[in-house]
């Protein structure tokens, strides 16, 4: 019996378990998936919690709902990968051997990496919304907040779901307007990037939206410290921004197990071939989702498109054929802009987000880099798609490779 071992049962790992169980004969291949937690979080839903649109119950389900029959599930901490011995050491001392290994251990926020961030104001006037705890604490805080300086700060790049902080400020604008508080709330968007986003066309559209919604942009800000006593954030260049409520997007790091295994870069991401998704160093190890160091967004849509490529390439490796699939870094993000509307971006390693229509050229129904009600419905519907189609590894009517048709240069 040969063994495929999958580390991490988040979005990417769960999709791979479903896909590979269909591909590999049950009498020849054991598939085992390991994760320390039993709850699956719908992470794109965290954004909606601070504004009372979703509650905790809307974003959690047991992981066990999404595993196919015929996959062994082990709930355990993972100590380290021993790639030289084709084995993984679990927290309780159990050793698992593998023929092929998929690393899908993701990334997580690390607030302790910024001086003064996780200090006396943490979850009092300083919050994150990338954890369920932070999102829920912020929801409670906003219920009684009387207004002041609301500062949203991105600590460093890369971080999960690159558009979420923008969506957060768009939502905040609508939320406080609807409560009649907008004139008492100043919203400031403080980012290490040179503008609202990295790529020119999207930066122009999204930057325009910030201006239109009276949200102040502070670009090129690399945070050095949070001063809890004077309630301000300070960057390396000496710029200071005062806050009454700070919403932080802390640094994101890959899992510590990658560091313990000596397999990561300086942020614990695993060096991975950006086209084949194979580890840069080990022939029988593949990496998918946020755990990889590939130069694209850390996002569920990327994990989804990459999973389709990995399914094909892993079969190539197992059957001793040359790789036939190549990942293009495809990402596709619905961006909520408040008031029941949204916009959409679709891009890859080489092509920046462009205007147009998606997925059907000229027809849409979704508009790229346009604000519309339909784009908002796309995002709302997506939660259903995520739970019922995506995690289970079923086919979606969207190409994993980015399409130029429908885009305007």
């Amino acid at each position: 019996m040969k063994r495929l071992l999958i580390l991490g049962a988040g979005t990417a790992g769960t999709m791979m378990a479903n896909k590979m169980r269909k591909q590999l004969a049950r009498d020849e291949w054991d598939i085992t998936i390991v994760d320390q937690f039993k709850t699956h979080y719908y992470q794109p839903g965290f954004l909606f919690i601070p504004f009372g649109m979703y509650t905790k119950n809307d974003v959690i389900k047991p992981k066990s709902d999404f595993f196919p029959t015929g996959v062994h599930v082990i709930y355990s901490k993972i100590d380290k990968i021993q790639p030289g011995e084709n084995s993984v050491l679990l927290g309780d001392g159990v050793v698992l051997k593998y023929d092929y290994l998929i690393i899908a251990t993701g990334c997580k926020t690390a607030p302790e990496e910024v001086d003064g961030l996780k200090d006396k104001l943490w979850y009092k006037d300083i919050f994150d919304f990338y954890t369920i705890e932070g999102a829920v604490a912020l929801a409670d805080y906003f219920k009684t907040w009387k207004g002041g300086e609301l500062v949203v700060n991105i600590s460093e790049i890369p971080y999960k779901c690159p558009v979420a902080p923008l969506e957060f400020v768009f939502f905040a604008d609508a939320f406080f307007t609807e409560r009649g508080l907008r004139d008492k709330v100043n919203i400031t968007y403080v980012t290490p990037m040179a503008g609202a986003f990295t790529k020119p066309r999207a930066t122009k559209t999204l930057g325009g939206l910030l201006e239109q919604k009276n949200i102040k942009l502070v670009p090129n800000f690399a945070i050095m410290q949070v001063n809890n006593d004077e309630k301000k954030i300070i960057d390396y260049g000496g710029t200071e921004v005062k806050f009454d409520c700070l919403v932080s997007i802390p640094p994101n790091l890959g899992d510590e197990l990658i560091e313990r295994s000596g397999m990561g870069d300086d942020m614990n991401y695993v060096p991975t071939d950006k086209h084949t998704l194979r580890s840069g160093k080990y022939e029988n190890i593949f990496v998918v989702g946020d755990a990889a160091n590939i130069p694209t967004s850390k996002a569920g849509s990327v994990a989804h498109f990459a999973a389709e490529i990995l399914e094909e390439n892993l079969m190539c490796a197992i059957e001793g054929r040359p790789f036939t699939a190549s990942f293009d870094g495809h990402a596709n993000c619905y961006i909520e802009t408040g008031y029941g509307k949204g916009t959409l971006i679709d891009f890859n390693y080489d092509t920046e987000p462009l205007p147009g229509s998606f997925p059907f050229p000229g027809l849409g129904p979704f508009g790229l880099l346009k604000v519309s009600r339909m784009n908002h419905y796309g995002k709302v519907l997506f939660r259903w798609i995520y739970w019922h189609i995506l995690l289970k590894g079923k086919e979606m009517p969207i190409d994993s490779e980015m399409q130029m048709a429908g885009k305007k240069l």
Partner: protein, 103 residues
Amino acid sequence: MATKTYAGVNIEVNDEGYMLDSLKWSKEVATEIAKEEGIELTDKHFEVLDYIRTKVANGDTLTIRGINKSGVVDAKTFYQLFPGAPLKKATKIAGVAKPESCI
């Protein structure tokens, strides 16, 4: 694309002024590019530029975090050496490509 003359050498640069061929780099070239950026290079600057050139030659990604951990310079000093946008300025002076900030 344009051609500029630094320290008597003709050098091709892109629209943003980044050198296209990093083999044409020399300390003299660096000194002149730095002048355009309003920076007078010291030994410490060159130590950082060497580190950046080595990292890029190895195909590694440059980040403020990586530089902070490098042992060559901490982030705060890095900002003092190349004020404003240190990574963008330092890479330009080091004659390597501007780091892509893909998110």
